[in-house]
Structures are given as C-alpha cells and as structure tokens.
C-alpha cells in the first residue's frame, strides 16, 4: 500500500523545487543579457556561433526544466523532438533550395 501511495506522490513531484526554478530563470536572464550584449560588443567571427549556441541553450533549458521534459516520460520528448526535428529538416531543405546558405 505504501508503494502505491509513494508512486502517487511521485507523480505530482516531477520537476524541481521552486528555488530550483528561480535558479534556472536567473541563468536564462543572464544568457539573455549576454545575447543582448552581442548587439553592442563586437564578437568578431564568434558572433553568429555564440548567438546560436545561447539560443539553443535557452531553448533546451526551458523545454527540459520548465516544461518538465527532463523529468517526464520519454514519449513526450519523442513527440516534441520529432516534430521539432522534422520542422528543422524540412525548412533547412526548403531554404537550401533557395540557396539561402550560400554566401
């Protein structure tokens, strides 16, 4: 009986503590600050890779922690990332058709 009760409690506790969420938000705010700084500071050849990396890090952090994908069933991750992957693939192909990636 205890096991069933514990499982029930666990179902409600997927995620982090409120303090954990606040820490994640502070990190996200700091990364946003860094992103904005690229508008004022010349990062040279690092400009584009740095911006794209920060964008991906923010995206993954929100999806993993705020949307609980890190703690939830892998089926949810599969559904979302398959949609995302399909979108990236299809539209990269479409952009390539229009020679978008050729400088």
């Amino acid at each position: 009986m205890t096991t069933v009760t514990e499982k029930h409690a666990d179902a409600h506790e997927h995620g982090m503590s409120d303090a954990g969420y606040i820490k994640i938000a502070i990190i996200l705010a700091a990364i946003t600050g860094l992103e904005v700084s690229t508008y004022y500071v010349n990062f040279g050849p690092l400009f584009m890779p740095a911006l794209l990396t920060m964008m991906v890090v923010k995206f993954v952090m929100v999806v993993s922690y705020f949307m609980h994908l890190k703690f939830d069933s892998k089926i949810f991750s599969f559904l979302f990332y398959v949609g995302l992957g399909l979108a990236i693939f299809v539209y990269c192909m479409a952009l390539a058709t229009f020679k978008f990636f050729i400088a």
Binding site: I22, I75, F76, A94
Partner: protein
C-alpha cells in the same frame, strides 16, 4: 487488495483518462500539438529568413528595430515562464491561492508583452513599414503577429483557467490542467527565444 483497488479508482478519477502507456491522454495530445506547432512556426521563421533582406520600398530592419525595447519585452516573456512554472508547482501542492496569484502575474506579464508588441507595430507602421510595403515587412508582421496571437490566446486561457479554478469547475486533476496550459505558455516562450535571436539580433 481492496485498498489498492479503491486507490486505483481514485487515481483514475484524479487524473482523467490515461492511454495504454499509462500516460495522460491530455498531455500526449498537448505534446503532439506542440510538435505540430513547430512546423507552423518553422514555416514562418524560414519565410522571414528568406525575405528579410528583400526591401524595395520602406525601411530596412536595421533602420527600425529597437533592440533595447525588444530586449525588455523578451525579458518580460522569459520571466512569465518562471511565474507559470511556479503556478504549476503551486497547483501540484494543491495551493489554490498561490496558483491563482502566479497565474495572475503570468497573465499580466503576457499582457505587458502584447502591449509592447502593439507599441512596436504602431511605431514601425508610422516609420513606413506596412504589411504590404515589402517582402521583409510582410514576413516580419506575419511571423511576429502569429506569435502575438499565440500569446494573446495564452493570456485568455490563463484568465479562463483562473475563473474555472475559482468556480471549482475542474472535476479532474487540477494540477494537470494548469500544467497543460503551462506547456502551451512555455512553448510560446521558446518560440520567442528563437525569434528574438534570428529576427532581431542577427542582422540581415
């Protein structure tokens, strides 16, 4: 044994319908919906990327974008994700008062973001960028406008949820309902994370 059977019945009542995987059908549907939304926004973003430099009439992006203003808007939307996850956390603890408080704050932050977008669109229009001025203008307004509509729908959902919670009309698992709307809200936020970088920070 009887205890376990009773518990299972309670559990089913609490969490609504579950699929054969043991997962909530509602959550599965929401994640599937969000996966399909990636395709919608992917189309709009790639169209913008293709047309952002196509300006025959009207101003270029570099002439009208107000990065400090948009940065503040982005920060507001990012913080609304924090308040939303705190609302979900409160709902899981069955703390209705705090859930409502965080939902109100989230809705206010969302409304602030929308207000900022209305101001931005008005300013751009006055500076000569209409929807049909150039391909850049059309793709910009289509992309950011669609996102704005999603945020507005999110605000309406948050306000409706508060009303439903106050009237006690949620018969199933309240925390799951809050979580589902939270998933939609966070999705709107991650789309903006991409738009902010690709549209505003990377010059055409």
């Amino acid at each position: 044994m009887a205890d376990i059977a009773t518990h299972d019945t309670d559990h089913a009542t609490d969490h609504g319908h579950h699929s054969s995987t043991g997962l909530s059908n509602n959550k599965l549907a929401m994640w599937l919906f969000l996966g399909s939304e990636c395709l919608l926004f992917g189309g709009l973003i790639s169209t913008y990327m293709l047309y952002r430099g196509r300006v025959q009439n009207g101003p270029h992006s570099s002439q009208i974008y107000d990065i400090p203003f948009t940065s503040v808007s982005s920060f507001v939307l990012l913080m609304s994700s924090l308040t939303m996850v705190l609302a979900v956390s409160s709902a899981q603890r069955k703390d209705d008062a705090k859930t409502n408080l965080w939902l109100v704050i989230t809705a206010l932050l969302g409304a602030t973001f929308i207000g900022g977008q209305v101001y931005e669109f008005t300013t751009f229009y006055r500076e000569g960028l209409g929807f049909t001025t150039s391909l850049f203008g059309s793709s910009f307004y289509a992309l950011t406008g669609f996102h704005g509509v999603h945020v507005s729908v999110g605000v309406i959902m948050l306000l409706s949820l508060m009303g439903i919670i106050k009237k006690g009309k949620i018969t199933g698992d309240k925390a799951e309902v809050v979580e589902l709307i939270g998933l939609y809200w966070h999705f709107v936020d991650i789309v903006w994370i991409i738009i902010f970088t690709l549209v505003y920070l990377i010059p055409s």
